[in-house]
Amino acid sequence: MKQPILSVRNLVKRYGRVTALDHCDFDLYPGEVLAVIGDNGAGKSTLIKALSGAVQPDSGEIFLAGENIRFNSPLAAQAAGIETVYQTLALSPALSIADNMFLGRELRKPGILGSVFRQLDRSKMQQLAREKLTELGLMTIQNINQTVETLSGGQRQGISVARAAAFGSKVIIMDEPTAALGVKESQRVLDLIVDVKAKGIPIILISHNMPHVFEVADRIHVHRLGRRLCTLNPKEHDMSDAVAYMTGAKVPETVSI
């Protein structure tokens, strides 16, 4: 068995008297799409926030490529190579596509223009943004300088995914990427997930949509009552099993993997 790229052991997070994470374990293997499913309030968003640096756990350990790490901000997680596509997308509507893709990590011109006058290397950023979007088959967008607010929901999702794919060297986390989209746009995002996976970057997909989960996931992490209940192989189980485990209607006999 391969070593997990990202793993979590005994993670605990309490909000007052509510225990959101109860000695939770989690494993993500290189090159896979791992879906995280769970009922509302099961603690999956707290788990994801702990992985993306937005929440600091009370106890427990997180390992990235075998190394014990601790993130105290989303920036620290990004620096370690973990990118998150938030449900809200985290895009600035009035800025251009290129500006958004490089927000917070802009490239400066070489030489004195960049070091003293802090001038941005617009053409290089535009070119890289265009390349990234083309790689993911998103070049239906003609103008890289058009503002994000002029794009459709699916296109915005595409920009956010492309940004994560461009900078996420180790892991990409996607929080409910299809929740706000129509049927066709959702399909487009699922294609994007497959494309990103093909580039060798593992993906954590949080979703409520079982058909989407079963379409793209290699493994399914079922989260219940603040901890991992089991992981399923989507080829061996069907959607009704997953929903039954998720809601507690059925208890897994053996914990696989």
Binding site: Y86, E106, R118, G137, E149, T150, D191
Partner: protein
Amino acid sequence: MTDSVSKMSNNTIDTSNADTRVASFDHSQRTLLNQIQHALHRTPSLVPLIVLLLSLVVFGLLLGTKFFSPFALTLILQQVAIVGIVGAAQSLVILTAGIDLSVGAIMVLSSVIMGQMTFSYDIPPAVSIAIGLSCGTLLGYINGVLVAFMRLPPFIVTLGMWQIILASNFLYSANETIRSQDIEKSAPLFQFFGEKLHIGGAVFTYGVILFVLIVVLLTYILNNTAWGRHVYAVGDDPEAAELAGVQTKKIIVSVYMLAGLICAFAGWALIGRIGSISPTSGQFANIESITAVVIGGISLFGGRGSIMGMLFGALIVGVFSLGLRLMGTDPQWTYLLIGVLIISAVAIDQWIRKISS
């Protein structure tokens, strides 16, 4: 959308025969109004520029060479320079979806401190000026920390600071004016921005040149540096900016600090403009700067607009004031027309914003 369709057909769900028109825009059938809306959306400073040019033409036709002379036109620049410099500071704050009601007070206190340092404590003028500039920056820093870290609304923070700074200003100076002759004699450096440059009939004070330099510099910074892009991102959607990796609190504090510094420069330029150092000067600078910003097409909701627009906005106010005065109308007509301009500018901003919905 065609290549997306071909990609989809690789998957289990085949949508290649489905109607692909659902998510696409109809670019061919844009009305003229629509095109105008899009053009304004790309360059919001276009509206004030058009209004400025139109008002220049109208007053030029009505008043002839009395108005359309190098002297009169550069007089407008001299009259708007102080408000314009303060407006540049105000623009920065408003771009972050904040507002700074303390700009005028910071300007006046900075100029009073410069004067007091030299005339009460015999500090060399150059050092006094440096102290005044640092004082403006410090006051901006306090505003910024209260807004960014204490999470207080900018309106409340700067409303309070306005009163605090203005009261300190009167208490500290004992409401005494330092006379122009005294400054001329012992500290002419204070009046540096009142020096004039004559080119033909045109008269440029150094204050006007400072104003234009600040606008050009800020335009460069806002458009061509990462800091500038972050200012827009923070004003647009602070949560999104934070998640994308922008250090929003640092940006907000630095914006208020820079605004404070620019206001202190306005205080220095103010001494050049009025000659003396008076604690009662510049009382309306905050309202006038907000007026210039709003007429200049910068959105009060943050993230939209340009410093160049504010320059046009300040000039529009200057053109109306001088034009109407030369025509001999009651000055109240100026205020009335400016009121109409403010409301129209915000209405146009709302209309432009509809593009995204």
